[in-house]
């Protein structure tokens, strides 16, 4: 009885699925999905090797600091860094005085408990990077977590920053409706090919590095990507270090457990 019922239910679901499948297959064959500019021209991120990659990865602090400089001089005009506190910068090699000086460059609303007033005064190390007002087209996302919030992470950021180009002529020939709208910029690494961010890194030497590294566009893009890996995952080094200690211990303990297991079962056929 239950089996007859079950067979009927099974056939019911199968019939409904077959019906959906039939209709779907019919329209797939009669009107195959047309290619779009996005699925022809969108590109996967370029390769980018950073010191923080892989299970032994550590930050290259020089590079992270250079990236911070690029962020400060270029990106911070439009992008926030909400999750990061100034005091966190100590972890990338700034000392207390430098952190204080960096914080003081930002105006941050503080509540004065004595007067009850909220005053915009100099930032303190405990403050987070303040909101940024942006008046242009599009919405610049907060960059604190961007390296974890995009497929491809730092390689993606690097590719977007260095991927601006003119819209290919054959794209316009094939997809005349896909012309990049006014105010947007063609970038094959961006999901819909047209990004609102104006090319932020346009010329070599846009920032001047103190450590002698040549500030090419490519270099600046790599550096800021490395910095954004740090803002997204400031505990990466602790995680890698703890990971090795834990794994080595576990492999040792599991080896012992295996020997105990063999020992207990020795002579017992199973």
């Amino acid at each position: 009885m239950i089996r007859i019922f079950s067979i009927l239910v099974g056939l019911f679901f199968s019939a409904a699925l077959l019906f959906s499948f039939g209709k779907g297959a019919y329209s797939y064959i009669s009107e195959p999905p047309a290619a779009t500019a996005v699925n022809v021209y969108h590109k996967e991120p370029k390769e980018l090797a950073l010191a923080s990659d892989g299970p032994l990865g550590k930050f290259d602090m020089q590079q992270v600091q250079r990236g911070f400089q690029v962020y400060t001089e270029v990106c911070s005009n439009c992008h926030m860094l909400h999750q990061v506190a100034f005091r966190d910068l100590k972890a990338i090699g700034y000392n207390d005085d430098e952190v204080k000086a960096i914080a003081a460059k930002h105006k941050i609303p503080h509540y004065d408990p004595k007067t009850g007033e909220v005053k915009n005064d100099n930032g303190m190390p405990t403050d987070h990077f303040p909101p940024v007002v942006y008046g242009g087209q599009g919405t610049p996302p907060d960059l604190s977590l961007i390296a974890k919030a995009r497929e491809g992470g730092p390689a993606y950021i690097y590719s977007v920053l260095t991927g601006y180009q003119d819209q290919p002529a054959d794209l316009l020939a094939k997809f005349p409706d896909s012309k990049t709208p006014d105010g947007l910029h063609y970038n094959p690494y961006f999901a819909n090919l047209n990004i609102a961010m104006p090319p932020p890194l346009t010329s070599d030497g846009q920032v001047s590095y103190k450590d002698g590294t040549k500030p090419t566009v490519d270099q600046m893009a790599q550096d800021v990507a490395a910095f954004l890996v740090w803002t997204a995952e400031p505990k990466l080094e602790n995680r890698h270090q703890a990971g090795w200690a834990v794994l080595i211990f576990l492999i040792f303990a599991t080896g012992l457990a295996y020997m105990a297991y063999q020992n207990v079962w020795a002579g017992k056929k199973h």
Binding site: R3, G10, K235, G243, T254, K269
Partner: protein, 424 residues
């Protein structure tokens, strides 16, 4: 209960004698997972996964309780409070990654545990109650995992909650009202987040309770085994301790190595990048997908693209998705073969492997964007899924001729040599 030849607990230390009289906890442990519990001697590694599932539950409860000390279930600050855990709480990153990947590990382990049941016919009498409780656990796990994923209040949290609670609105007549009532509003918001947090804290303890029942009912018939032949004599068994404590200890070690490798070196591998974007009700993500362990069922949900007679496509999808799990409840009565183990069932064994591939492929399609050809592929795969459980399994036992079973576990292990049996 146990087998008559089970060893008896004999406390020798005066303290243990005293305790045995007043609170016989050591006796209980001895009989449950100690030398007093005889277990088939031929269990393979597939039988490790129950203990591993229990360990996962423990990981989730311990890390979860500490996370809850730092988390704020307020829609305005929930996202920032998780980042606070990642950045400012001592070893907060470890807690959060251990918990998030602990959920993945838990599901991976439980899926293997369930498929072990499919292959070895573990759901058959006398173990049908263990199985039923298992399915209840699985449903509770899904609810818990879903609500937990909402808590960080990222884009996928928000939109996942939107989609899954939206399923209730497919129910005719009361759907809309039910949906609003469940959410405490028309869309996920503070009310929903708070109740999800409360329930997400509660449910693991409900699971713990059902796990206790699960193991209680397991201890009545005892574990099955790869031959599916029930225990007959003492030589079929070994005491749980030290034999299976040692084997489970080794299994736990291997599990922990894999789990920790993910937690420490690839902690975002199983997560979706969009959940690092704060929830934004005004911006729908390009693809809304749940966590990987829901993918097979998500594929079934999305496979119903056409209304079927008077039933709207969405309602069909919801019915099918829930039925895909609910059919497991009926397995003990749908599969009528007297033989348990797939080792001796030539047809059942083949269909089992087809099911494994089918579910893996469904999972792949469920994680892919909802476009062709993935939808068509999921439709074919979903048809097989339902046919497998509801049509094939009920009739396969009448079509197949089981291979000869060993007389006993001892015989299976030692061969048909009477002398060997006697001295084993």
């Amino acid at each position: 209960m146990s087998f008559p030849w089970a060893q008896h607990y004999k406390p020798s230390h005066p303290l243990m004698v005293y305790l045995d009289e007043k609170l016989p906890l050591p006796r209980f442990v001895y009989n449950a997972v100690g030398a007093g519990y005889p277990v088939p001697r031929n269990l393979n590694y597939a039988w490790n996964f129950g203990v591993l599932a229990g360990f996962c539950l423990l990981i989730q409860i311990v890390t979860g309780i500490v996370l809850a000390m730092h988390y704020a279930s307020n829609a305005g600050i929930a996202f920032d409070s998780t980042e606070h855990i990642m950045r400012d709480v001592n070893y907060g990153w470890l807690l959060r990654y251990a918990h998030a990947n602990g959920a993945s590990a838990f599901f991976a382990v439980v899926y293997i545990h369930i498929f072990r049941g499919f292959f070895y016919g573990s759901y058959k009498p006398p173990r049908e109650m263990i199985w039923l409780l298992g399915v209840v656990i699985f449903l509770l796990m899904m609810a818990t995992a879903f609500m937990g994923y909402v808590l960080p209040w990222g884009q996928m949290s928000y939109w996942g909650a939107q989609v899954i609670t939206g399923l209730f609105s497919a129910i005719p007549l009361i759907g809309g009202a039910l949906h609003t009532w469940l959410l405490g509003g028309f869309a996920p918001g503070d009310a929903a987040l708070n109740r999800f947090f409360s329930l997400h804290f509660l449910l693991p303890f409900v699971i713990l309770g059902v796990v206790i029942l699960h193991i209680w009912s397991l201890h009545i018939p005892g574990s099955s085994n790869p031959t599916g032949v029930e225990v007959k004599t003492e030589s079929d068994t070994v005491p749980f301790h030290p034999y299976y404590t040692a084997k489970d200890g080794f299994g736990l070690g291997v599990f922990l190595i894999l789990y920790c490798a993910v937690v420490f070196f690839a902690p975002n591998q199983f997560g979706h990048p969009d959940n690092y974007i704060p929830a934004n009700p005004m911006q729908t993500p390009a693809h809304i997908v749940p966590e990987w362990y829901f993918w097979p069922f998500y594929a079934i949900l999305r496979a119903f693209t056409q209304d079927f007679f008077i039933i709207p496509a969405k309602l069909m999808g919801v019915l099918a998705m829930f039925s895909a799990i609910l059919v497991w409840f009926f397995l003990p009565w749908l599969d009528r073969s007297p033989v348990r183990s797939g080792h001796y069932r030539p047809l059942h064994r083949k269909f089992f492997w087809v099911l494994v591939i089918d579910v893996l492929a469904l999972g792949y399609c469920g994680g892919a964007p909802a476009r062709e050809p993935y939808v068509m592929i999921s439709q074919v795969l979903a048809i097989y899924y339902f046919l497998h459980f509801l049509v094939i399994l009920p009739i396969v036992s009448s079509l197949e001729k089981p291979e000869p079973l060993p007389f006993s576990i001892t015989e299976a292990v030692l061969g048909k040599d009477d002398h060997a049996v006697l001295t084993a």
